[in-house]
């Protein structure tokens, strides 16, 4: 391999490996112990590299702080699919709140909190409302007149349900529960 080709390969691999754009100055400084490179030399190499990648899947571009390789624009959409598996998931708090609204509607935020044993953040309610899955259907006639929450038709559409009656059946309480003996044992210990 020619000396020039070797030098070009070195610059190329540096640009690829660096975690931020590299300026001509930065390249010169990194290599100064081994090689004295003029600005002009580097500019030539960089323009050659730019040419090499002109019709490839990635391009060498110059941004404010230097040169970097980046994916070609035309593929960005499909590349984004790489992360589709990592699509955000709703937290347990979000799912449980939605479940309580779906199965126990209409329900107030306070009631949800009572059942879950922890407070429900406004963010959760807001997210569910923004997604058009949850709406306020009235106000409970108790002090403070808290909003009564219920699910929407969009919620049913999303889950391909014709009506709430099609929600999966919950296990009878006696089965969820459980291990009566164990609970009793603990209770006895607590009472003792």
């Amino acid at each position: 391999m020619s000396k020039n080709k070797q030098l070009k390969n070195l610059i190329e691999s540096m640009l690829f490996v660096a975690d931020s754009p590299l300026s001509i100055k930065a390249i010169q400084t990194t290599l100064e112990d081994d090689l004295a490179l003029s600005k002009k030399q580097l500019q030539e190499i960089l323009s050659e590299l730019k040419q090499d990648y002109a019709d490839r899947g990635i391009h060498l571009v110059e941004v404010a702080s230097g040169f970097r390789f980046q994916a070609a624009n035309e593929h960005a959409d499909q590349i984004a699919l790489l992360w589709k598996e990592k699509a955000p998931r709703y937290s347990r708090a979000m799912l449980e709140t939605l479940a309580l609204i779906a199965y126990r509607q209409p329900i107030t935020r306070g009631e949800i909190e009572d059942i879950r044993g922890v407070s429900v953040s406004s963010y959760i309610i807001k997210t569910l409302q923004e997604r058009n899955w949850v709406k306020v259907v009235g106000h409970k006639e108790v002090p403070g007149r808290p909003a009564l929450l219920a699910t929407t038709d969009e919620f049913l559409d999303y889950f391909s349900l014709k009506s709430l009656a099609e929600l999966p059946e919950l296990m009878p309480v006696s089965e969820i529960n459980l291990n009566i003996e164990q609970v009793e044992e603990q209770l006895e210990t607590a009472e003792a």
């Binding site: 994916a71 479940a99 929600l167 999966p168 209770l187």
Partner: protein, 276 residues
């Protein structure tokens, strides 16, 4: 160095006592010169360094056999035992656990020697040579020690291999990915709330006033006069969590004893409770 060691080793055999090597191994606190051990005895002041230099008694033993032509059989057992016992004192302020492993090895060697010194007649023929097990262990360890060195030599990320770092174009705006929710997840979440509300809350039971039996009676008398009562109506929010838990346990107990019945007229409908 190797030649010297052989000589030392030979001297050892002749005189039956400890010899110190001439070449320094390390500087301790800038001055003290520490020698690599010639047998399982380690000078107490060098103990810590030796323990760090070797990966354990097998490692030290391998070193001794290889470099010092150490003889596992011809050990001055009495001396070593005495000296090892001295470590126990020293080790009280150091890595006692590590020293223990060296002590075990010294004990194994002493046992091997004592068994070999027994008159042959008392040894059954089918009994295994006591050295065989030790040699097997040394070989097995040596294989792994070498393998570890090979792995250390393998080209690896961070040190020898550098990955490329290419980003998406800056102009690119990621598409908003809507969170996927599964109906099954929703149902499980609900099941989870119910289960946890029960499991979680009984931890907070205070041993006060509210007993389950008492509550069971209350519920029963209420049901007798009212017929159907909605499940949630049986709970008094004012009683706080411990009260709710006791009520819940009381209901479970009543169900278990077939004193009451829970009825759900619709799939997601409210649960009605009635006395049997």
């Amino acid at each position: 160095m190797a030649t010297k060691n052989v000589e030392n080793s030979a001297l050892n055999k002749d005189q039956g006592e400890m010899q110190q090597q001439v070449l320094p191994l390390a500087l301790v606190h800038g001055e003290a010169v520490v020698e690599k051990p010639q047998d399982l005895f380690i000078p107490p002041d060098a103990l810590e360094i030796i323990l760090e230099a070797f990966e354990g008694p097998l490692d030290l033993l391998l070193y001794l056999i290889r470099k010092q032509k150490f003889d596992i059989i011809d050990l001055p057992i009495a001396d070593i035992t005495h000296q090892y016992m001295e470590y126990v004192e020293v080790m009280k302020s150091l890595k006692l656990e590590l020293a223990a492993e060296y002590l075990v090895m010294a004990a194994i060697l002493a046992e091997i020697k004592s068994r070999l010194l027994l008159p042959k007649t008392t040894v059954e023929d089918d009994e295994e040579d006591p050295r065989a097990e030790l040699v097997r262990r040394l070989q097995e360890y040596e294989v792994i020690k070498q393998a570890a060195e090979e792995i250390e030599q393998l080209p690896r990320l961070e040190r020898d291999i550098h990955l490329t770092n290419v980003d998406l174009p800056e102009s690119y705006k990621p598409r908003v990915v809507e969170v996927q929710v599964d109906l099954q997840d929703l149902m499980l979440a609900m099941q989870g709330v119910l289960k946890r509300a029960e499991a979680f809350e009984h931890h907070h039971i205070q041993r006060e006033n509210l007993s389950t039996r008492e509550r069971m009676s209350e519920i029963l008398s209420r049901l007798q006069s009212a017929g159907f009562v909605e499940f949630s109506q049986l709970f008094q929010v004012q009683e706080g969590r411990s009260g709710v838990v006791v009520t819940f346990l009381a209901i479970l107990e009543l169900i278990k004893e077939s004193l009451i019945e829970c009825v759900q007229s619709q799939v997601f409908g409210r649960i009605q409770v009635k006395a049997v």
